[in-house]
């Protein structure tokens, strides 16, 4: 009896801790409109908490993905798709309020996350371009092309998901690893914190980690069969080159993988790229 009561209490506690995050990264006037409409459509139950973050960035998105109490993330922003036809060289983007491309950050969504909705024009196509798997089993994933009916679409999917919520979350299948990379970023003290961006660490074509805007170290487990070259990118808009953040000094090392990572630089040793850095494994 006591054990059963404890189990019920534990279940209730777990339920009470469930947290949903609504993130918007659009124009200031739109944010409140989306929040009001979302609150109406989502029909939150008692005990469920909704954390709202306006003017969200990819760093905040990544932090939500890392928070074990967050069960669902709803992201609203604008999409910039490539024109159809031809071998287009236009990079499709999911834009945050600063015009930065945040699409590749969604590849960091953990398997334990129960529900993820990405709402923005052509978001599904954009996420696929950036190697984000939009057909994850065991959890609902909404990426709508049009935002006219996006809220009703998301709330319908959300309600349906809650009705048929899987009792067991999909298990994270451990992949065979060839080792861990240590990626370190040092930002100078003169860098303007307002301009600083988080940096995505892309290995084998997929975003596998993120470096904080203020600098730090991230450890990346590299599965077997994946190329060891590393691409670091901020996704920062290049529209105005005079107000770019500082990428800082970046190094890639590993205790387990032999060889070294050499930064792609010019003859004088200056790294090439504006919002990206390339490290080749030698």
């Amino acid at each position: 009896m006591l054990l059963r009561s404890l189990c019920v209490l534990l279940a209730l506690t777990t339920f009470a801790e469930a947290k949903y995050v609504l993130m918007t990264s659009v124009a200031p006037g739109e944010e409140e409109r989306i929040e009001r409409a979302f609150r109406r459509a989502a029909r939150l139950r008692s005990g469920e908490t909704l954390e709202v973050r306006h003017r969200a960035t990819q760093w905040e998105l990544q932090q939500s993905f890392q928070d074990p109490t967050v069960e669902a993330v709803f992201w609203f922003s604008h999409g910039l798709s490539a024109p159809r036809g031809g071998e287009s060289l236009i990079r499709p983007k999911l834009l945050d309020h600063r015009g930065d491309d945040v699409a590749a950050a969604f590849a960091l969504a953990p398997a334990r996350l129960r529900f993820l909705a990405v709402v923005g024009c052509n978001s599904e196509e954009i996420l696929e371009y950036h190697g984000v798997d939009t057909s994850l089993r065991g959890r609902s994933y909404v990426a709508r092309a049009r935002r006219a009916n996006a809220l009703s679409e998301v709330s319908r999917a959300w309600r349906s998901f809650r009705r048929n919520e899987p009792t067991r979350l999909p298990e994270e299948r451990p992949e065979l690893s060839q080792g861990t990379l240590r990626v370190t970023r040092v930002v100078s003290s003169a860098a303007d914190p307002k301009l600083q961006r988080a940096l995505r660490v892309v290995v084998g074509g997929y975003t596998r980690g993120m470096l904080p805007p203020s600098g730090g170290t991230v450890f990346i487990e590299v599965p077997t069969g994946v190329a060891l070259d590393v691409r670091i990118e901020s996704g920062e808009s290049l529209a105005d080159l005079s107000v770019l953040g500082e990428m800082g000094q970046i190094t890639v090392t590993s205790d387990e993988i032999s060889g070294e990572w050499r930064q792609f630089s010019d003859a004088l040793g200056n790294p090439l790229g504006v919002n990206l850095r390339v490290f080749r494994h030698m």
């Binding site: 999409g79 910039l80 287009s88 060289l89 010019d266 090439l272 990206l276 390339v278």
Partner: protein, 178 residues
Amino acid sequence: MKKIVLSFLLCLGLAGIPTQRAHATTTLLGGPLVYAVGGGLIIAGGFMGIMGYQRWVENNVRRPVARGTLSIIGTYVLLVPMFFGALMLDSEQEAELEFRVITDGQRGLRDIAARDIAIYNSQVNELNAVYQTVTAEVARDASVLPQDRWEAYSDLLAPETLRVAATLVERGLRPARR
């Protein structure tokens, strides 16, 4: 090598790779096609409405003062939706160019040698880094010539990479001819 770089630059345009414009959403209304068609219809409808309204006022209102007042008020009222229509048409943002990995049998690129594609794919990140650097250098200093900067960095990239990139630029930035 110089020949390849020059042909690459010719494809890009000597003033550097142009930034293209692509549609982006700016409100909750819908996608690019909806904007273009909707905006155009609203402007055309507004224009027709103003013309029709002016004719109606002309035919039905006899007092000159009332005719003038109604004419001005009606025109301004009809200009409002036309203004929003124009905003809808203007929902564009600057897009950025990026070279991407070529997948097997990609449409329109089957005539490129597999070896060249493999080399290009292995250097696609480096190519993007050089492209960004050249574009930034030219943007920051008007006296810097893009061909000089491409020439300076061309030794860092394989000739095959530049050759494939030139083909992509030539086919990607022009209307599809298939």
